[in-house]
Symmetry: none
Subunit: 218 residues, 4 copies
């Protein structure tokens, strides 16, 4: 984590450095990104950088943690209003929140998503620690609760289903990122539609169901 010296910096300068770092990591990934470039772009001295951070990894860890926290903040605000919703409404809110976050913080969002998906990164475990496990646990608990409520199928493999739901969420983010370089152009309607589509897939699947006896007398 950054040293005290970094926290003591004027907010403006701090944010500037952070933004430069996000850009660098987003552009080049962790390995290829360069502290030299970061300090040059930031207009700070190399020595100063090392008075702010332990090193490259420290900076990266900080950026990733900050991203997670920022996202969590986004989502937990949402979720505070959403107790006792069924899982589909909850997921809808979470997916929507994620996309809003993504729209507001496109590089940061891309950075964390990309990092999380990079299966080979030795750093993943070190840096993200238990946050992934926790996220999966959260989903698993939701699933269990809704099974108890008889709202979802009881024959589900819980851990696997949680994993698939995460996969769908990530796919949704990817799709947005791929389609729209400039997220500004997106109107809310468009991504609400995609979220609804994702939720519907999770809820009902894509099969054309046989006509259920509607309007009959049974």
């Amino acid at each position: 984590m950054p040293k005290e010296t970094f926290n003591n910096l004027p907010e403006e300068k701090k944010n500037f450095i952070i933004q430069i770092a996000i850009d660098e990591f987003y552009e080049y990934g962790f390995e290829k990104s360069s502290i030299s470039r970061i300090v040059e772009m930031s207009g700070i001295a190399k020595g100063s950088f090392y008075q702010y951070f332990e090193g490259k990894e420290d900076l990266f860890r900080f950026i990733m943690t900050m991203a997670s926290e920022k996202k969590l903040e986004y989502l937990s605000d949402l979720m505070s209003n959403l107790n006792n919703l069924d899982i589909f409404r909850l997921l809808r809110a979470l997916f929507l929140g994620s996309l809003v976050f993504q729209k507001d913080n496109p590089k940061l969002s891309g950075l964390t998503d990309g990092f999380l998906k990079n299966a080979n990164s030795k750093l993943k475990e070190i840096i993200m620690g238990d946050s992934i496990k926790n996220s999966n646990l959260f989903l698993e608990n939701l699933l269990l609760q809704d099974i108890a409520r008889n709202e979802i199928r009881s024959d589900l493999n819980i851990s696997f289903t949680a994993h698939l739901i995460t996969g769908v969420a990530v796919s949704l983010s990817d799709y947005m990122r791929d389609r729209f370089d400039d997220m500004e152009k997106l109107d809310e309607k468009m991504y609400e539609d995609l979220v609804d589509e994702s939720i519907k897939l999770l809820k009902e699947g894509i099969e054309q169901k046989p006509q259920t006896c509607n309007g009959c007398a049974c």
Copy 2:
């Protein structure tokens, strides 16, 4: 792509070099993997390497292409027998085939998956070229065909649904990789179950459907 000199090598030597390269890329990722290490492990001279390949990127592109082709081979053998199946049976066969491929080529499979998921890589577009688009096009065509056959919902956003299906497939692979370091230990029953679960999710969703009028007279 490799130079003529590489193709002229004895098959055995070629395969040895390829295997070393796969190991290296799997272990370290593209950026951190080292040509020096590869030539040392391979027992070939540095100069020789540059007579076989243009450079690191060329080697990587070659490995990735080879992986795609190998996987496609696997799958197209399957698919030649599967005309006119509905999309769920087809996907089931494809998913199953993918897992078998993954079991037989764990590093190669992990390598391609990981690379595909790394959204920020400048190399992705250059190296994978149209193969992703093609894969999506294939799925989209399947979806269109089954909508026509009235087998799946007609209100789907085709391109997005194709994207989500790919996401589910990737999640399935991930889940297997995470759970089972040594894929050898997996018996077919286990991954058949997971495949079926994935297909069921795609088909029916996870919702507990209301009792359809069973045994009634309608």
Copy 3:
């Protein structure tokens, strides 16, 4: 030499800083020792350090000078009582005094000895100035005086012999330091024996002398 500001500090703080500096120089030597570490351990600000001392070299010179003075103090107390002793008794007292000093100030003593022995150090001359020359002059005068008294051989190369005596003294210190990490454990008997052995070597050499005519009438 330290600036006025350092002298104005409370004695306690001064001694604390000095102790930290001795530890640092003893542990890492001059080149590798770090002002950053010293100020951190001392709990003073970097800027303060540079208000106390000109820089690293100034601090080092100060510590070394202080060490010499402290040692000289030790020894001159001894020597005030030792006028008109022959050189061997005098050296015995000096060697013994040095070892006591070494026992009481192990790091300080190791620091000065080590520094003096480091022949290549550009700093040696600058920092120790004439103190080595003076020490040699003192010995040379002793030798001259005892030659006059007919107590030692008259065929000695004075300056070289003085140098060798210093060498023996240093060897004695080394031997103690090497053998006994924790000087506390040494009882006085042990180092008195070593001192006597050193003095005897200087006095008589190590040769087995032929029996001198004892009890005969010549």
Copy 4:
């Protein structure tokens, strides 16, 4: 130790690099000496240096080992002719040999001596390993043998006396180095005298012995 690549270099180039390195280490000591300076002076590329050596420590270790071996060669040539001499004649030959070596290799000699005397160097043990212990063992065995032959005093503390003898040898070297910047100017007579003086000190001490009954009848 240097890599194969260094050994494969033309002898001339190898020696040139070695000489540059000796100069650098002699001038600046291990810590302050700079690989950058060495490669610049040598006219080789930085990368080349790291293809020849593992790093700075590797180079230093190599130089020190080489120095020891070279000196040992010098001395063992001498010693092959000196079996069964008493310890004083043997030491005389060794001291004389060391000075000749020192005259022919002033920097190399100064480098090893200085390094050996630097008590604080963490590297000392790592780099010189058992060679110091072995040298002391050699002396101790000589002493034991000559005690058995009744040629030296039997009341000596063997290990301490060996240590003192080494100290005298080192003092001798120092004295030469200090006095004569340009060792070329030394004629053999001068250092033979100093060696003899050192040996005499070890043998007889510096005391003026009482007249032994000469020519009397006892």
